[in-house]
């Protein structure tokens, strides 16, 4: 019965599926193995409360590479992104800050807080666009090895150097700052309104165990800004039917290209012989052979769990053990009987159709981080929430709603107690925090799902619950991701590749690692063009 495949892809998350689809389209015989009953990894939709479809983990999208949407013809496979319009930040004093995609409106909104900032906001937008233009190609680039003298590496580095040279003095200045500064310090140079700086800096800490004052967070700010200027869709958005819709569309494209997908097929081991990957063994004991194994799961699972230590160089294992995950966020998904009513903007309205950000001040954000540093979840956390049911009625019964809350900080390692003991308290903290701005919340909750970093790890397999499969910190980016010297999707084992978010350019529903890895695999094993 022993069926033979060209490639086995471990993990049916969005990167695994993208990777498989590209390989199959190049004529490879590909098998995807997913541990769970549902595809998508952290990009899944599940009906936790009857009638309510939760985007359990990842809940908005903006980074999905346009070339992938094009190549895999995802819209035809059911991908539909509905725009998420703007961000509203309620303030403790009953005021609010509401930025929308409409520039004129946003400008007026900002002027209420500061005329100077309203001016600066336009300039800032332009500057960031220039920065994104510079960084974007890097997202589509296999990281060169700066320690190598091989021309193929130096050419890339030299071209980066030349592109940097060609930037204007101002752009150079902004770029080096974005690469080295903290989000808070960077924004301080542009704006004076505390709540504006706080809300904007929030995107600099998502998925990291850093505070908005930690150097390196300005880059993550840019990483998230990237999506907002994408030609494909101008801003963050929802996928119809929840984030799982994206995974399903990619799975559809993969299936059409001939990819075989097996769910509830947990991998136990990667079969290695003489430094070469030869296939995998499932927990069921079944062994499946393949010429190439492409792992979309994190380095800890791939190298520490699935492979015997003796099959890998000690130094490499040391580096893998050193790779930082440090999950710092949780999720609270609520089934609501009605819409939350915010004191700052009472009643329903467009402000509920965008993101609602609990990030009232720089100090609030930083104090939330301080508590996490010492192993406690934030007593007053940063919360980014959306009500997808307003834009996509298919996710809740008529008149009812889904409130999806991303919460930071929730450190994976607690100084006291376990997450199973703290889950309830964590959920309540989040609800209490929101209720301070939307007092009716507690009376309209008809179902809730509290997801701790531990739950993220156990359910999706993301080590320590880091949503990016490893921290996006300066020492874990580009040619250092995930392990210095192994940033080119290859591994110390022949025929074994990495294609998950732990590889460049990292996390977010982007798909770039899966695609880049596929192209590298095809370079090595040969195969049709795509």
């Amino acid at each position: 019965m022993a069926k033979h495949y060209d490639v086995i892809v471990i993990g049916g998350g969005h990167n695994g599926l993208v990777n498989a689809a590209y390989l199959a389209r190049a004529g490879k015989k590909v098998l995807v193995l997913e541990r769970r009953h549902v595809l998508g990894g952290a990009a899944v939709t599940q009906e936790i409360v009857p009638g309510f479809k939760f985007s359990v983990f990842s809940y908005v999208v903006s980074l999905l590479r346009p070339e992938i949407i094009r190549d895999l013809d995802l819209p035809r496979h059911g991908l539909e992104i509905m725009p998420l319009d703007g961000t509203m930040t309620p303030m403790p004093n009953g005021d609010h800050l509401w930025r929308v995609n409409d520039h004129a409106k946003t400008r007026r909104a900002l002027e209420r807080h500061s005329k100077i900032d309203a001016e600066a906001y336009e300039e800032f937008g332009k500057a960031m666009v220039a920065m994104c233009r510079f960084v974007k190609p890097i997202l589509g680039m296999v990281p060169p090895d700066p320690t190598s003298l091989a021309p193929r590496h130096w050419k890339v580095l030299a071209s980066l150097g030349r592109r940097f040279q060609s930037l204007s003095a101002e752009d150079k200045y902004n770029l080096v700052q974005l690469m080295t500064m903290s989000a808070a310090d960077f924004l301080d140079q542009w704006f004076e309104t505390d709540v504006l700086k706080a809300t904007m800096s929030a995107s600099g800490i998502i998925g990291t165990f850093l505070g908005i004052r930690s150097p390196g967070t300005a880059y993550v700010l840019l990483h998230h800004y990237m999506g907002e200027i994408d030609g494909a869709f101008r801003s963050w958005g929802f996928s119809r039917g929840g984030t799982g819709g994206i995974s399903n569309a990619i799975a559809g494209a993969a299936g059409e290209a001939g990819v075989e997908i097996r769910t509830e097929a947990p991998v136990a081991r990667i079969l290695v012989k003489n430094g070469e990957a030869q296939g995998v063994a499932l927990e069921s004991g079944e062994e499946i052979r393949a010429d190439v194994v492409s792992s979309s799961v994190g380095p800890s699972l791939t190298f520490l769990k699935f492979i015997e230590a003796r099959d890998l160089p000690g130094e490499f294992l040391e580096e893998v053990a050193r790779y930082k995950y440090r999950g710092s966020s949780g999720k609270v998904n609520l089934a609501l009987d009605a819409l939350p009513n915010f004191t700052c903007l009472p009643g329903p309205g467009r402000h509920l159709r965008g993101a609602i950000s609990i990030s009232p001040s720089i100090e609030y954000m930083e104090r939330a981080y301080d508590q996490a540093k010492y192993g406690e979840f934030s007593r007053r956390p940063y919360i980014d929430m959306v009500i997808p049911s307003l834009t996509d009625p298919s996710v809740a019964p008529p008149g009812k709603h889904v409130l999806s809350c991303f919460v930071q900080y929730a450190p994976y390692k607690l100084s006291r107690g376990t997450w199973d003991e703290q889950r309830e308290a964590f959920g309540n903290t989040v609800i209490d925090t929101i209720a301070e701005y939307a007092p009716n919340l507690k009376n309209i909750i008809i179902g809730k799902q509290v997801i701790t970093p531990l739950d993220i790890e156990q359910q999706t397999g993301l080590s320590e619950g880091n949503i990016f499969q490893g921290e996006l910190s300066l020492e874990q980016l580009f040619f250092l991701r995930p392990v210095a010297g192994w940033a080119r999707y290859r591994t110390p084992l022949r025929k074994l590749y990495m294609c998950g978010s732990a590889t460049h350019p990292g996390g977010g529903i982007m798909g770039a690692p899966g695609r880049l890895a596929a192209l590298e695999i095809l370079k090595d094993v040969g195969g049709g063009k795509n």
Binding site: S214, L474, E475, L480, G485
Partner: protein, 537 residues
């Protein structure tokens, strides 16, 4: 009438140097050596800037601001012949004494085997790793050592010289091999807390080493980039916990020696001469105006003052491009360090030393108070919200243990560098908080040396405000501006202006606000002089 209009009778001087700090004196020496007869103008009555020895209580003298010198680059020590100019280095075999609240302690000797031996009392593994760390830092020093005395390359159009200098550094780096190079690239931007965790399991040891990555900075051990700062310091002295050598007579003796060397080379030094304004005409520097109105015309002006003071204080912004002024306003130079100097009638007894074989010899080096990474981080946390640390990090020296010239026989001076004390307080101002700060420091220290409070004859507290007002450090920043990833090397003080020149023709920077700008190394002054001489050719 302003300087612009007045025509001076006296022929303009070749070079005037603003400030008499150590970098200014080093620059003066190298410029004088080429026969340029620079004139150094020091605002205070004592030269040395932040490297001074002052009597803060009758009979008691100490290095009032900086107390642990860089150390100065060996090239500078030799070329200035500082030994000949009265500089004697007193070196304690014990570099660092780090007591723990439980009465244990790390006593780290210059001899790394001896140090490792003491570390083994805490952890065998750490003892071995300590030697490894020293090796790693020595490698780093091998590469960054050259970078310290390198003019940062021109980012817009690197010259062939820039290129070859970098290639030279690159070649050295290649010597580390792929693994070594990658390690360096990975370590640089890391939080020093993560860096030390890669080596040690003992929290006290982690903290003692990590302290070097946050010294004088608005960073905690968990701030990314603090490892780069540790490396910058290791480049000057690869010993893991920094140096413990003091000039006899305090750091003032070092700068006095530098002044003597500069004078002998032909420099003129005036104290009590405060530069109030740098005069500019048609985008070109024309001289300086002193407080009191005296005008000194000069073809070139070299500022040893920090960048903010130079560009936002001494210059009329109309002479600068608006974007340059904006960027300079954003240059981060708010300090977080304070200083407490104590006159003691006897050495305090540290609980941790009762059992130690070294006894008080352990007090001859530096004393580190900050027993754990979290302790240091919490100390930093307070400062983020405009409060000084309730449980501060202290870097202490008792120079009188080795140096009998500082205090009456049997008596001592204790010099305490404290972090974190933010320049901007949330409540009240430093005039109201200074005593509370001093009391907090003494209380903290008393937990390790219970008899200290009873030994104090007098105290001098220097808040960040004092460091600004008395010593001219804008924002009270000991290093003329944050040494963070975005303000080092080609970005110090600003990207595009890291080569000691400024937008004003004939105006140069030579202070700690330029590369490498890190402690009392003199490298900034020497680099600046080299660039000025190039322009004169």
């Amino acid at each position: 009438m302003s300087a612009e209009e007045r025509t001076d009778v006296a022929a303009p001087r070749e070079i005037v140097i603003v400030g008499g700090g150590h970098n200014a004196l080093v620059a003066a020496f190298y410029l004088a050596r080429k026969g340029l007869k620079p004139l150094v103008l020091e605002r205070r009555d004592v030269i040395g800037g932040a490297a001074v020895t002052e009597e803060f209580y009758p009979g008691f003298r100490c290095s009032t601001v900086a107390h642990a010198g860089g150390p100065p680059l060996s090239s500078i020590l030799q070329e200035m012949q500082l030994a000949k100019h009265g500089l004697t280095r007193l070196e304690s075999p014990v570099r660092l004494f780090a007591p723990s609240p439980e009465g244990r302690s790390l006593i780290l000797d210059t001899d790394s085997n001896a140090a490792a031996h003491r570390i083994a009392e805490f952890s065998q593994r750490d003892a071995a790793r300590y030697v490894e760390l020293q090796r790693a830092l020595t490698e780093v020093a091998g590469i960054l050592g050259d970078v310290l005395s390198l003019t940062p390359p021109d980012v817009d159009k690197p010259s062939a010289e820039d290129f070859w200098k970098l290639v030279k550094v690159g070649r050295k780096a290649r010597g580390l091999g792929k693994k070594g190079m990658m390690r360096l690239l990975r370590w640089g931007p890391m939080a020093v807390a993560d860096f030390v965790a890669e080596f040690f399991e003992t929290d006290l040891l982690r903290a003692a080493v990590a302290a070097r990555g946050i010294f004088g900075a608005a960073m905690g051990p968990w701030s990314a980039g603090s490892t780069a700062l540790l490396f910058l310091r290791a480049a000057a002295d690869p010993f893991p916990v920094g140096n413990s050598a003091y000039p006899r007579g305090g750091l003032g003796a070092l700068t006095a020696g530098m002044a003597a060397a500069a004078k002998q080379a032909g420099a003129e030094i005036r104290t009590g001469a405060e530069v109030e304004r740098i005069s500019v005409k048609n985008g070109e520097v024309t001289g300086v105006v002193l407080r009191g109105g005296e005008e000194i015309s000069a073809k070139r002006v070299v500022s040893g003052a920090d960048p903010r003071r130079t560009f936002l204080g001494l210059l009329d912004p109309v002479h600068l491009p608006p974007s340059f002024v904006t960027k300079m306003r954003h240059y981060r130079s708010n300090g977080t360090a304070a200083k407490l100097n104590l006159a003691l009638d006897a050495l305090p007894n540290f609980t941790a030393l009762e059992s130690a074989s070294e006894g008080n010899a352990a007090l001859a080096g530096r004393i580190h108070v900050g027993p754990g990474i979290d302790y240091l981080e919490r100390a930093f946390d307070d400062s983020k919200y405009g409060e000084f640390s309730r449980a501060p990090f202290l870097d202490i020296s008792i120079p009188s243990v080795l140096d009998d010239s500082l205090a009456p026989v049997g008596k001592h001076v204790m010099s305490i560098h404290m972090q974190f004390a933010p320049f901007q307080l949330k409540q009240g101002d430093w005039a109201l908080q200074r005593d509370a700060l001093a009391d907090t420091i003494i209380k903290t220290l008393a937990a390790y040396a219970p008899d200290l409070p009873g030994r104090i004859l007098a105290r001098q507290i220097l808040t960040p405000k004092d460091l600004q007002d008395t010593y001219g450090l804008t924002g009270g920043h000991p290093f003329h501006g944050e040494l963070a990833l975005d303000q080092i090397f080609t970005m110090r003080p600003l990207l595009g202006w890291a080569r000691y020149r400024t937008p004003v023709k004939g105006l140069y920077l030579c202070g700690s606000g330029t590369h490498p700008g890190n402690g009392i190394t003199g490298a900034s002054g020497a680099n600046a002089a080299r660039e000025i001489l190039k322009d004169l050719r």
